[in-house]
Structure formats: C-alpha cells, structure tokens
C-alpha cells in the first residue's frame, strides 16, 4: 500500500548540513497499522511528512497504492492535495474560525469527485458518528476540549475516505488518562474501517499497544522492523533493546558452544549460557542482555545454570511488583520480582540471581553505553 525505498533528506542549518534521513525503506501492507518509533530528532516526522508530500526528499521513492508520488531521480512529485491521504497533526490543526461541522466538511467541498451538498452532509454525519461527536456540529472549534479537537481531526481525516491515514504524534498533547483511552479508540476505529495507517510516536508503550508493525528509528535509519512481540522479545541490536523497555547488560566473550543456539559466555560474573539464535563465532566479544522481569531471585543457592550471588542495594515497591536493585561484583543488576517472592525471600541482604538461558539475549557489539 505504501512503499518507501531509500529515502534521503538533508537539511541546511547554521552548523552545516544535517542528514535527517539516510536511506529509509519501509513496506506497509493494506490495512496494516505501522508505527514509526524513535526519540525526537530521529527522522520519524520527516519520513511522515515526505509521505504526505509536505516535505520533499532528496533521494528515494515513495509509492502509494501503486502510484509513484515521489521520485527526485525521475522528477516525480505529486503535491499533497493529489495524494488522497488523511492526516492527524500533533496540534490537531483544527481551523479555529469554523465550527465542528465546517471543519469536517470544508475539504469535502474541494474533493476531485464533486460531492453534492447532501452527500457532504451524509459523509460528515457518518464521520462524526464514528468519532462519537454527534450533536456537537455547531460548536465552535475554539470551545472544544483537547480530546474533542482530537476527535474532530479524526473525523475530518475519515470523512475524506483516504487511501492511507497519517498520524503525527496525535496523542502527545493529551493528558495521561485520555491518552490511553484515545489510543485504544484510534486502534478500534482504524481496524473497523480497515485503514492503512502510518503513525509516528516517541512513546514506546503507545507503539506496542497500537502497532501491527513497529519500525524503530534512530539517527535517520530504521534499526529494526517487526511486530511488537518480535521487537520486545527479539531485539536485534543494543539500541533497540535499550529503547524498548529496560534491560540489564553484561559484557563478556564467547568461549564455547555452537555457532547458534547454545552459547557459552565468559564474563566478570562467571560463565553464562545463552539460547540466543544469533550467529556468533567463538572468541568474539559480546554483550549479554536480560530484562528485569526475566530474572529470578532465590534465597538459597539454586541447582540451575546461570546462577550468581548478589547483594540487595535497594528495593522499590511498585504495588503489583517490586523492583530490586542488586550488586554483583560491582555490576548493577535490576530485577523485577513478583509480589509474593518479594515479601518472603528478599528480606535478607544476600540472594542468588538466576538468568534464564532462553531469555538471555546476546549482542555482538561490545560497545556498551555508560
């Protein structure tokens, strides 16, 4: 539905040239909800604006529903109004001089297929119905709450029956409770309509909840693309692992095991076994990673592999769990312990930490940050 190939975009700034995008390629299937996730300045909004036609890339191609809309090499540029898209802006961009009905209706008056007044009224009614704003047609845009403005923006995009729907941090201006409500609503509405969505956010939990597919971006490139489960459970790089959720890292060297499947890694804390599927030759410097919730804590020395002694530095009660900060031979480890074990075993200062081999990630880069 949307195919982006080798997108490059450069900006001139006071300090010289900045490469905002360095070869972005992305394929989004029909009906798919794709999220671009990354820290601010990673190029995600620039990518979205290139798809919208509000920004022109310096190289690369964009194809929307089989139609080439951007190709600097072949001098193709389809202007935004010709692309048949819908878009939700971060500021919502609700026209303050118009009321709710007019905000949704205005673009319909200028559609290529000429709509009669009656058709426009039906389309607007349908869209407002969908976002549950029926009855507020005559309300001035400036008298709407943030959540209502958000709904008007959605209705305006839906009413255009766009081929693809673009959303630029649509929830970032809402307060926390409303944000959670709206993100599941957006998900429901778009999947009910079968829309193809490209969605930009810097909020990882938002990305995991709404996305069918998530692409993690950093420094103008896509680091990894996959389902939320894939990204969380099988991060391909340290950056992705760090960006999505928390992870403990231990530097080491592979000393034995097969090329893939079972690795024996030597670290300052002793030898560990990892079941990571990554291919790593023996002798290579590696980084082991494990999420806090995959760490088991025991009061006595267990029989299992991958166990190491540690002392508790600090405990933080979170309600449904306890975050435990440990120290083992000078290496900091955080573990997330379920409630029960927290109350029984963790009263003493010394415990044993067990790292489940199937949850122990292995990365080839030895450049651990910090």
């Amino acid at each position: 539905m949307i195919r982006i190939t080798g997108l490059v975009k450069e900006y001139q700034t006071g300090q010289g040239e900045i490469q905002a995008l360095r070869g972005i390629s992305l394929d989004i299937k029909e009906g798919e909800f794709c999220v671009l996730l990354g820290p601010s300045g990673c190029g995600k909004t620039t990518t979205l604006r290139c798809v919208a036609g509000l920004e022109q890339p310096d190289a690369g191609e964009i194809v929307i529903e089989g139609t080439e809309v951007n190709s600097p090499q072949r001098k193709i540029y389809v202007s935004p109004e010709e692309r048949g898209i819908g878009m939700i802006f971060q500021s919502y961009a609700i026209w303050p001089h118009l009321d709710v009905f007019q905000n949704v209706a205005l673009p319909l008056e200028y559609r290529k297929e000429k709509l009669s007044r009656l058709q426009i009224r039906d389309r607007v009614g349908e869209a407002l119905d969908l976002v549950r704003l029926k009855g507020l047609e005559g309300r001035r845009a400036t008298d709407l709450s943030g959540g209502q403005q958000q709904r008007v923006a959605l209705a305006r995009a839906f009413a255009c029956k766009p081929k693809v729907l673009l959303m630029d941090e649509p929830l970032s201006n809402l307060d926390a409770k409303l944000r959670e409500e709206m993100r599941s609503e957006i998900k429901q509405m778009t999947s009910a309509l079968g829309s193809t969505v490209l969605y930009v956010t810097h909020d990882q939990s938002e990305a995991l909840v709404v996305g069918d597919v998530v692409a993690v971006m950093q420094g103008g490139v896509i680091l990894q693309r996959g389902s939320p489960q894939d990204l969380y459970n099988r991060p391909e790089s340290l950056e992705v692992a760090e960006f999505l959720g928390e992870m403990n890292f231990i530097q080491g060297r592979k000393v034995g095991g097969e090329l893939r499947g079972r690795h024996l890694v030597e670290t300052r804390l002793g030898n560990f076994i990892s079941d990571s599927a990554r291919e790593v030759p023996v002798g290579e410097a590696v980084v082991l990673g494990i999420r806090p919730e995959d760490i088991h804590l025991c009061g006595e020395k267990p029989q299992a592999n991958n166990a190491v002694a540690a002392s508790i530095v600090h405990r933080q009660f979170l309600g449904n769990a306890t975050m435990v900060e440990l120290n083992s031979s000078g290496i900091k480890i955080s573990a997330r312990a379920a409630l029960r074990s927290a109350s029984t075993d963790l009263s003493s200062g010394a415990v044993f930490v067990v790292l489940d081999p199937s949850c122990l990630h292995l990365f080839r880069s030895a450049e651990l940050k910090e």
């Binding site: 802006f89 961009a93 400036t142």
Partner: protein, 562 residues
C-alpha cells in the same frame, strides 16, 4: 493580594503614574470649559464645544481627517500586506536585511520625507513636476503634493514599516499546520488562501488597520507640512493653528475642546482595536512542536517580489534621502543635471556646527538621555507591578500607562502647556517640559515592550529567589533586571532615537530656550533649505549608524535574550 504582602511600592508606582498621565489630561479637559489664557480667571462655559460643533469649518476639518485616515490605511494596506507576506512566509532573499532597513525607516523623521517630497512634487518648482512638464510639454504641473491624497500617500508610506512588523507577527502566530492539514485533505493553494488563511488573518489585519487609522488621524507633522500651505486642515493642524495663530491671541480653550473630541474619537478607535485583537489572539494557536514554518518557494517570482520591495523603498526611502542629499549641496535648488553638479558645494556641511550649535546639541542630548532613562525605569517598575504582583489596582495601572497612546501628541503637548501655565510651573519653555511630555508619550510603548519581556521570564525563577530569603525588591534588582537587561537596553536606545525624531510636541512647546535638532531643521527649512537638508542628512546617517551598531553590540554581548 493585600497591600501588606506587596509592600508600598505598587501603590507608589500607581500614584506617580496617575499624577504624570492624568494631571495634564484632566487640566486640558477642565480648560476646555473655559476661555481666555491659562493662569487668568475666567468663567466656566460650554462655548468652546458649541463653537466647534456649530461651525461648518469643523465638519470640513473632520471630514478631511477621516479622509486622511482612510487614505493612509489604503496606502498601508497596499504596501504592508504584500511586504509582510514576502518577509514572513516566502523564501525571499536576505529577509533580515530588509527587516533591518524597515526598522531604521521607522526612526527616520516623517517631516524629513515630507520636506523631500515638496522638493520633488510641489506644483511650481518640484523636480519631478518640472521634468514631466518639459518632457511631455505640459503647461501645468501634473501632480500636486499639497492635497489630501498627497498627504495620505506620504503618511501611508511612513506608517508602512511599523505596520509590516505588526502584520508579520500575526503571520508568525498562525499555526502552519492549519494550512498543511487543508493541503493533505485535498485543497489547493487558491482555496486555502480564500477559505483558511484569509479568514484567519482577517482579525489581525483589521486590528492593524484600525491601529494605523488612529495613528494617522493623530499625527501632525506630515499634514502640517503638506496641508498648511494649501490651507487643508485636519484636526491636529487645527489645534496647532488655534494655539499659534498668525494673528491674535492663542485660543487654548477652543484647542482643548477640539483636542478632547479628537482624543475621544481615537479612544473609540483603540477600543475597537483591542476588541478585534482579542479575536485575533483566539486564532493564534500555540503549537506543540516548533516545526519550522515552511517557506513558500517563490521561484521565478522572486524578481517580482524584489521589484515590489523596490517599488516601496524607492518612494519611501531612497528618493527622499537622495533628494535631501541633492538639496543640501546647493544654496538655491537646482534641477538634477551634470551641469548643476559642477556648482555643488559642501558649504552647508562645513557650517553644520553653526546650524546646530552647542545649545541645540545640549538640549537634544538631554532630551534623548533623560527621556529614555525615565521611560525605561518607570516601565520596568510598572510592568513588574502589573505582571508579577497581586496588586489590587494593577489593571488600572496598566491602563493608565497605556492612556497616553490614545491621546494625540498635539493634544498632550497642549495639555502640558496649559498644565504648566495654570500652575505656573518653571519648566514651561525649557527642555524639561519636552522631556516630561516625551516621557509620558513613550510610557505606553515602554510598558508594552517590558510587559512582553517579563511575561516570558518563568515565575519560578523569581519564586526561587523569594523562598531562599530575598525580598521582592532584591528579586527585582538581582534576578529580573539582569535577565531583562538586554531588552531594556534595546528599549532605551529605541526611545532615545524616537525622542530624537519627535517634532510635534517640540513644536507645540517651542521656545527659543528649548530648540532641539528636529525643531531646528523645521525652522531652518524656509530660511535656508540647503542647511536644513544637510542637517537632515546628517541626522539620518547618525540614526542609522547608532541603531545598527547598538543592535550589533547587543547581539554580540547578550546571548540569552533576543
């Protein structure tokens, strides 16, 4: 919110402001119900108002004034809207350079431009008229500058630069995604301009036009220079005429009544201005993300844009300045030609110290330095009370500081003269009455600019000082002042230069003891055009150099505030 918490300072500031602003204005109001000369006994009467409102002459003058206001804003509309659009929304080259030129232009006295245009377009010897007559074989001069149209046009050219800055800030306040969302949902440029941009900009445009309408009917210098020779009066020149008649005694009572009527009319205009402005501010959305405004690529139209900028700058700046330079070179004005150039002399420049002697320079320096210092000190105090304290009457204080804006300079000078004469103040006829008048006149500008700076300083910076044991005044001195310092210095420079170019009050309160450069040029004009023109040229150059170097200095030495 009680007085004890804020101490006595706010109340003191309020009383001083009220005394400064309301003292003269109320005296003028009181005097509009009297006749004769201030300081002498006379009965209360409605005669002044009855005379004014009962004479046809007054209505004629009123119509002229309306005509001047409308003509001016049409000119402003014609130039300022395209210029603002070019400089705010497009990729027009060297935008900052053009904006600096426009800011210098605000400081160049309007009366110098009017004098220059007389040399170009007066019906007998105007250089353009003579050239056209010879070229086309005409018997009569084709263009007469001494008309209401002429006055409106020159006035409009002069008010275009400040209007550009006002409209540009409205363009910048508009959230660009309002237009982008129209584009991605299928609307074309034309439809967007008609249905989105224009309706959104409308309140801000109307507000700007209202503001400059009021400014136009309040100004004196250009209507005086271009209107009085052909006896075309507007209200401000009528007031001037009543206080300094060619024959007979000055009629302060009649001048006051007309002045009060004009002030009431401008206040009404400003009231509508503020109402429209509120609407405009509703439309200005603060965006979540500072996405840089996308500039519209002009492409080949860049040349058309450049032509338009020159189309404005030529009559507004370049031509008048060159005319002054030319006029300063000849004892008797010559039509431009190579032959004439051989007779040029720099006499007027070598004699410049005779024209602007030590007294004139001293007066001018005192006026600039003391006025700017007083205005900025008072403004900081007032703005701080208005924005940062819980003072009960802070709204009244803000309004009092802005009130001089609604009172035309001519009227305020008149009020000041009556005030000084009635109470026999020794400042009458000295430079200090001019300092007094200018200080109050620019207080409105000073407080507006300091208000906007103080608002930007996060309140917690101050509160951090308070909770760690500093008093309010210590916080003002040690935290706020250093933070707003660069802006205050900038405002100081600006007001000093505005006081340098001010001529209306200086003429109304003129005496042989308080001549400043502006009034010196004005009175020299008829006696020795070359000398006046030379003084004008030097004045323009000094203003431009001082303003440029001040800006450069501030940019270099203060980074944290722009």
């Amino acid at each position: 919110m009680d007085l004890r918490r804020d101490g006595r300072t706010p109340l003191f500031v309020l009383l001083v402001t009220l005394a400064l602003v309301l003292g003269p204005i109320l005296t003028a109001l009181w005097f509009s119900f009297r006749t004769g000369l201030p300081g002498f006994p006379s009965p209360y009467t409605l005669k002044n108002y009855i005379d004014a409102l009962g004479s046809w002459k007054f209505y004629g003058v009123f119509l002229n004034t309306l005509g001047l206001g409308i003509g001016t804003i049409i000119t402003v509309l014609l130039f300022a809207v395209p210029l603002s659009w070019l400089l705010a929304r497009t990729d027009f080259p060297a935008k900052n350079f053009w904006l600096t030129i426009l800011s210098v232009e605000i400081l160049i006295p309007g009366f110098l431009k009017a004098f220059a245009w007389i040399l170009l377009l007066n019906p007998r010897t105007g250089m353009i008229n003579v050239a056209l007559m010879t070229l086309l074989g005409l018997e009569r001069a084709p263009i007469n500058i001494y008309t209401l149209t002429g006055i409106s046009f020159i006035q409009g050219l002069s008010l275009t630069p400040p209007a550009v800055f006002m409209i540009i800030s409205a363009f910048r306040a508009m959230d660009i995604s309002l237009e982008e969302s129209a584009r991605v949902h299928g609307m074309r440029y034309g439809a967007i301009a008609r249905r989105i941009t224009l309706p959104l900009m409308m309140p801000a445009l109307v507000a700007a036009l209202l503001y400059y309408f009021v400014t136009a009917i309040e100004t004196f210098e250009i209507p005086a220079i271009l209107g009085l020779p052909s006896r075309i009066f507007v209200v401000t020149t009528l007031i001037f005429e009543s206080t300094q008649p060619d024959v007979g005694l000055p009629n302060y009572g009649s001048a006051s009544s007309v002045g009060i009527l004009l002030s009431a009319f401008s206040t009404l205009g400003l009231y509508f201005y503020f109402r429209t402005l509120r609407r405009a501010n509703q439309y200005a959305v603060i965006t979540g993300k500072g996405y840089r405004t996308r500039e519209i690529a002009l492409g080949k139209w860049k040349w058309a844009g450049m032509a338009f900028v020159l189309f404005y700058l030529l009559p507004a700046l370049v031509l008048p300045f060159l005319t002054l330079v030319w006029a300063s070179l000849f004892r008797y004005l010559q039509a431009p030609s190579l032959k004439a150039l051989s007779m040029a002399s720099l006499d007027a420049y070598t004699k410049i110290w005779d024209a602007a002697g030590p007294d004139v320079l001293k007066n001018t320096a005192l006026l600039m330095v003391i006025t700017a210092t007083l205005v900025m000190s008072l403004s900081v105090l007032i703005s701080w009370v208005v924005i940062r304290t819980g003072f009960r009457w802070k709204k009244a204080l803000d309004a009092a500081a802005f009130l001089p804006h609604a009172v035309p300079s001519v009227v305020f000078a008149l009020a000041l003269a009556i005030f000084a004469l009635t109470f026999k103040l020794p400042i009458y006829g000295t430079i200090f009455i001019l300092i007094f008048g200018n200080t109050i006149k620019y207080l409105g500008w000073g407080t507006r600019s300091v208000n906007s700076v103080i608002i930007q300083i996060h309140k917690e910076l101050e509160e951090a000082g308070r909770v760690h044991g500093m008093t309010r005044l210590q916080v003002l001195r040690k935290i706020i002042l250093p933070l707003i310092g660069p802006s205050v210095v900038n405002g100081w420079m600006w007001i000093a230069l505005l006081a340098l170019r001010e001529v209306t009050m200086a003429l109304m309160l003129y005496s042989t003891r308080n001549v400043v450069i502006a009034t010196q040029i004005w009175s020299l004009w008829r006696a020795d055009t070359a000398q006046a023109a030379a003084l004008g040229v030097v004045l323009v150059i000094v203003i431009a150099v001082v303003w440029f170097s001040a800006r450069k200095f501030l940019e270099r030495h203060f980074v944290y505030s722009s």
